[in-house]
Symmetry: D2
Subunit: 371 residues, 4 copies
C-alpha cells in the first residue's frame, strides 16, 4: 500500500490532480447490503464546494460525484466502490510564473525535490481540490457507521484566527446553525464578527489560520487497536493528513500538559463517566463517550502580498498570488475533517468485528455520561 490509500479494512485510495481531467478514488472493503446512492455523498460535497460565499475561493465546480461500481439496485455489493468527479473549471491560465518559482509555504519545492519535476497547474496533486474525493469517501463511511453502529460524525469551526466561536457546552451553541452559515459556526450571534473579520482580512490581502472540532457520537466501546494503530493515533494520522493541518488534539489535548491527575482522569459512576478529558479514547480504544478531536489549520500561503522565494534556477525572486484563493482554508475544512474521522471510525469498526465478533464483554457498557 502506498501513500495514497488509508485504512486497513475500510480502505480508501485517492487519485487526481487539480487541473487534470478528473479526480477520483476507490473505497474497498465496504460491507454489503447498505443502501447507497450518489445523493448520499453529494450533500457533504456541496458543503465543501467552493464559491458558495464571498469568503471562499470563487473557483466554480459542480463537484458531482459518480459511483462507477460496487452498488447494485441501490445497495452496496461488497465490491470496491469507484468514485469519479470530473474537473470542470480548468481555466486556461498562464502557469509560466508558478512553473518557474517555488511558492513559499506550498509544496512546490518539496514535490520538485522528491520527484524531480511537478505538475504545477493549480498545485497539481497537492491542491485542496483532491479533498473533494475524500468527502465522497467519507460519505460512504458515514453511511456505514450509521447503519452498522448508529454513529454520527459532525464538526464545526471552533476558531477563526483570533476568534473562538463556540464549544458544545457553551451557551448559544447549536448544531443546527452549523450548516446555515458559510463559516460552519455553531453560534449565529457570532456571525457578524466573523464576517467583519473576513472582510477586513480579504481587503488586507493576507490570510489567517483556523481550528476545527470534530465529534463522533454513539461510537461503541472497543474500537482501536493497541499499540500503534490506536484509535487516537489513527485519527491523528488522518487529520494531520489534511492539507494545511499543523496540529491535532484528542480530548483535553495540549491542555492536559498543565492538568493535574485529579483533574484530568475521568471518574466513573454507574451513571457514566463524570467528564471526558480523554476525548472518548483510553489506551487507544474507544470508551463509548463522544470522540472529540481538534485540528489546527495554517493560514493559506497563497496571498496577494509579495513574498521572497527562489526560482528553479536557484536565484532570488518574488512571488505574488493572483486569482482565486481561500483567505482562510480552515473555513471549508469542516466537511473534510468529518470525512477523515468517519473513514477512521468505519475502518476500526470493521477491524474490531474481524478480531472480536464473538467476544462477550464483562459488563454492559457504562453510559457515556458527559460527552
Amino acid at each position: 500500500m502506498s501513500g495514497n490509500s488509508i485504512g486497513r479494512s475500510f480502505v480508501f485510495t485517492s487519485f487526481g490532480e487539480s487541473h487534470g481531467p478528473a479526480i477520483g478514488g476507490v473505497v474497498d472493503g465496504c460491507p454489503p447490503g447498505l443502501a447507497l446512492a450518489e445523493a448520499d455523498l453529494q450533500h457533504d460535497l456541496d458543503r465543501r464546494r467552493p464559491g458558495q460565499s464571498r469568503h471562499t475561493t470563487q473557483r466554480r465546480e459542480a463537484d458531482a460525484v459518480r459511483i462507477l461500481s460496487g452498488v447494485f439496485e441501490g445497495r452496496t455489493t461488497g465490491a470496491p466502490i469507484g468514485l469519479l468527479i470530473e474537473n470542470q473549471d480548468q481555466r486556461s491560465k498562464d502557469y509560466s510564473e508558478i512553473a518557474a518559482k517555488f511558492r513559499p509555504g506550498h509544496a512546490d519545492y518539496t514535490y520538485a525535490m522528491k520527484y524531480g519535476f511537478r505538475d504545477y497547474r493549480g498545485g497539481g496533486r497537492s491542491s485542496a481540490r483532491e479533498t473533494a474525493v475524500r468527502v465522497a469517501a467519507g460519505g460512504i463511511a458515514k453511511v456505514c457507521l450509521r447503519a452498522l453502529a448508529g454513529v454520527r460524525v459532525r464538526g464545526f469551526l471552533s476558531r477563526l484566527g483570533p476568534i473562538a466561536t463556540s464549544a458544545p457546552d457553551a451557551a448559544g451553541f447549536d448544531w443546527a446553525q452549523v450548516d446555515q452559515n458559510p463559516f460552519f459556526c455553531p453560534d449565529a450571534s457570532r456571525l457578524p464578527e466573523l464576517e467583519d473579520y473576513m472582510d477586513a482580512l480579504r481587503k488586507s490581502g493576507d490570510s489567517v489560520g483556523a481550528e476545527v472540532t470534530v465529534i463522533a457520537e454513539g461510537v461503541p466501546p472497543g474500537l482501536g487497536e493497541p499499540v500503534f494503530d490506536r484509535l487516537d493515533a489513527d485519527i491523528a494520522h488522518a487529520l494531520m493528513g489534511i492539507n494545511a493541518v499543523k496540529g491535532v488534539e484528542i480530548g483535553a489535548g495540549f491542555g492536559a500538559v498543565a492538568q493535574k491527575g485529579t483533574e484530568h482522569r475521568d471518574e466513573i459512576t454507574p451513571d457514566g463517566f463524570l467528564s471526558n478529558s480523554a476525548g472518548g479514547v483510553l489506551g487507544g480504544i474507544s470508551t463509548g463517550q463522544h470522540v472529540v478531536a481538534r485540528l489546527a489549520l495554517k493560514p493559506t500561503s497563497s496571498i496577494r502580498l509579495p513574498g521572497r522565494t527562489v526560482g528553479l534556477d536557484g536565484a532570488a525572486t518574488e512571488v505574488v498570488t493572483k486569482g482565486r484563493h481561500d483567505p482562510c482554508v480552515g473555513i471549508r475544512a469542516t466537511p473534510i475533517a468529518e470525512a477523515m474521522l468517519a473513514i477512521v471510525l468505519a475502518d476500526h469498526l470493521l477491524r474490531h468485528r474481524g478480531q472480536n465478533t464473538h467476544v462477550t464483554p464483562p459488563l454492559a457498557p457504562i453510559p457515556s455520561g458527559r460527552g
Copy 2:
C-alpha cells in the same frame, strides 16, 4: 498488518506485557551492511529506564536488550532483527483489587470491553513497559538514519505541568544538558524549580502532564508520501501512539491558528528558508529543514488520591493507587518520542528510495536556513 506493527518498509512489530516473561519485537526491512550491536541500543534504553531518580517510578529493570537475529559479524544482514528484553521485576503482588475494578483514566475498561477480559497485572499490554522495545527499535532506526543520510534525532522536555523549560532558540538552551539531569531539561538553571515542583507534587499524591519536543536534523528533502502517508501525518500517528499522548504539533502547530499568512509562510532566499513555521514539512514532504514536533502527555492516572469508579459488577466503588508510579509520565517520554520519530523517518527514507532512486531534482537543496 495488525495494530502492533508500524511502518511499511522499515517495519517494527512489538509484543509483550508488563508482567509476562518478556517483552520483545521484530524490526523488518532494515538495510543490510550497517554496523549494529546491542550496545548501540542499550544507551537509549538506559535513558528510558525507570528508577534512576526519585522523580520516576522505583520499579527496577535492567532492560538489557538481546539481538536474536538479523546481525552477523557485527553487521545487519537484511533479515529481520529479533529483539528480546526479559521482565525481571515481576513482583508477586496482590492484583485482586485492580482485577475487579476499572481504574479511571486507564485502559482497564476499554480492554475489557474490547476483548471481554484483560491481563490486569500491571496494566498488561497497555503498560508503559512496552515502550522499552520501541526504544530498542528506535535505536536501530537511528543507526540506519545516521549511516544512510546523516540524520540526527533528539528531544527534550519542553514543559513540565505549568513550567516551560526552554526552546532551541532560547538563551540557556544546551543540548548537552539534556542527558545530564533526570528531566531531559536542556537548561541547567531551571533544574531547582523542576525539582521543587516535583517534590511538592509527589508529596501531594497527585500527578501532572508534560510536553516533549523532538527534532530531527539533517533530514534530506523529499521524504513523505502525499496524500495520506505524509511525513507529518505519519509522525502524528507515531507520536499519538505513545501512551498518555493527547496532542501532536508540527512546526507552528496550534499557534498557526492565530497566525497571518505573511507571518506563517517561510520565505525562501538562496541562503535558505527564513523561518521554519512548517516544522520541516510542506505538502507532507520534508523540506530539508529541521523536522520539529511536540507532543502533549496527560498526567498519570495512577495516583494516591482516591477516585470514583465502578467494578466488574457495575457497582460504584473507589480506587486508590498504591506502589510504584511515575508522578509525571512525560519525564521519561523523551527517548520514546525520539524512537518513534526515528522509526517514521527511517521508514520514509526507505520508501522514498524505493520510488525515487533515479530521480534528479531540479536544483541543489536549498540550505536549511533557520532550523
Copy 3:
C-alpha cells in the same frame, strides 16, 4: 489494504463490474519521470480484447483506456495514475434466469453466500472483464521495468486442452509468431491443428482448459523478499489470482517431484548457470536467469450443454448458457498473465531498491546462461 489491491510499493487497485458504467483502477507508487501515454497501454488491451477471432467471445468492447491522473507532459509524476475504461456493450439482456440460479463452476453461489446477494449481470465483479484494467496496469509495470531495469515480459499459450503447442527450446518456436495468430501460439505450423480443435469444440457446445507460459528476461538478481514475500510466492499469488487459474508452477514445477537432486540443481560456471530448473528464483530471490512461470486454466464453465444446479430457493434445476462466451478462456489469458507477472516484478524492483540501494554485491552477476 483490502482484496482489490496488489503490491506493496508498486500498488494496483482495481474496481468495476462487467455491466456497470465503467471499470477502472489506480496505480500508486510508480516512479516519476517515465514516458507514458495511453497508447503504451492500448497495445496489450487490444491483444486481450474479445471478438477478434471466431475462437473467442463476440462481446464487442473498444476497451479504450483513459489515463486520468499521474501523468504530466507525457511523463509520470510519481502521483497515483487513475485508469478508466468505459463499458460499452452492456446489452439489455434478460438476467432473470441467471439471477435465480447458481451456475455450476461460477462464483454465483460463493458471492451470494459471502455478501448475501450479488450483481448478477454478466458475472458482475467476477467477470473476466475486470482483467482489462489489470492489462492496463500491467502495461505501466512493463514501462517501468523496461525503463529502470531493461526487463522484458512476454508469454504464450503452451497447451490448449490436450495439445502442447511449443516451448522456448523447441524447434519451430518463434516469439514473433505469438502475436500473429488468435491463439498466442509461438509455432505457426501448429495453427491448423488448433483451429480444427477449437472449431470442433465450439460445435460440441463444450469448453476446454489451457496452459499459459510467461517469461521475464533481464530480471536483475536480488528481487524478492524472504521468507513469505518471495518472488515466486508473489508470482504464484498474482497468477492464481487470475480468473479460472487452478495451478501455478515456477521453473521445473511439478516436474521437480520426480527429479533427482543431481538433475534439478542448476550448476554454475563462470560462464553462467548450466540449466534453469529454478525458473530464475532461488530462496525466493531472482538469480538473473529468465523467470519462467506456467499457469493452468480450467475450462469455461459457461457452456451450451445443460448442467444440474440449484436455485436461490434451494430447489434442483438446470442451467444452460446461451449467448457469447469463450469456449477456452485460456486463449485470451496470455496478456493477462504477462500483466500480473509484470506487476509483481515492478513491485519487487521498487521494494529491493528501497532496502538495498547502497549495497555492493560481492561479485559481478553471473551470466544468465541457459534461460
Copy 4:
C-alpha cells in the same frame, strides 16, 4: 509490512537464522478468549522435528516453543503472541568452504547478490529451520479455526519422487496412518516401498522431490476476497513461500488443462456438489467443500555428489555437501504445509467477519457433497 510477515488480520511475523541464538515470531490479531497453551503447539513441532527417523537429517533440536505474551490464565487476550524457540544444536563447524562458494540450487548466490553478504552458517535465514516457527504459528491458527468455525486442517505425502502414495478416495487411504510413519504416508501398505526407495537414495548420495497434499474440512462458504486476495491466490502465496516448493495446485490443478467443461464444472444438487474439481474455491471464495491443495517440492540441493559452481572470487570450483541433510525435504513438509494453509484460512476467516458479519446469505449452505 515487509517480507517476513504474512496475513492481514491474522498476521504472523517470523525472525531468526539457522545458527543464531534463537528463532521466533509474533502472531498478531488472534481473537481473544481462546484456550491456548504451549502444548497445543508442541505436537505439530514434534511432527516437523528432524532426527526422528533415518530418513531425515540427524540435526537434533528439542524445538521447544515458549509463548512469551498474549496469553493470560490459559486464554488468548487479543494481544500479540510472542513465540520463541532456542537453537540448541549449533555445532561449531567449519563454515569456511560454504562461506567462499555458492552452493548450486541454494540461496547462497541470491542472498549475496541482494544483500551484499550473507550469514552463511547453515544457510542462515534461508534454512528450513525457520519453518519451525511457522509450524508454531500454524498451531495457533488451527486452534483459532477449530474454535471459531470447526475447521480441521491436515495433510499427507502424496508423492515421493516417482512413487504416488495414495489419495483420499483411494482404497487403503487412512488419515490415522499419516502420523504413524516417518513419511506422513496415509497407506501403511506402501511403507516398505518407500523405505526401500529412501534407503537406496541415501546410499546413492542423491536426493529426490516430493508432493504434499493439504486439505481443510469444514471451511464455511464465503472466505476469500476477490479479486487479488482470493482464497486460492493467498493459499498459493503461502504454499509457494515454503522452502523448495516449485508448484501449487488447487482442486483439479494442472489436470484442468485437459479437462472439458462438462467434466470440470462441479454440478450442484440440493444434496450438495457432485464433485470437487474446484478444490473448494470458486471465484476466489470458499464453497464449503473441502479446500484441497497440492504442492511440489524440489529435491534437496545439498547432496554428497559433487557439483560445479563458482566461488566468491567468481572462479570455477566444485562443491560437495558433507554432514546432516534431508535426502528428501518433502518428507518433513506436511506439518509446514498444514501450518501455512491454516494461517491463510484463519486470516480470511477474520477478514470475512470484519466485512460481512451482519450479512444474511440467501439460502442455507449447500451440503459439501463429495469432498
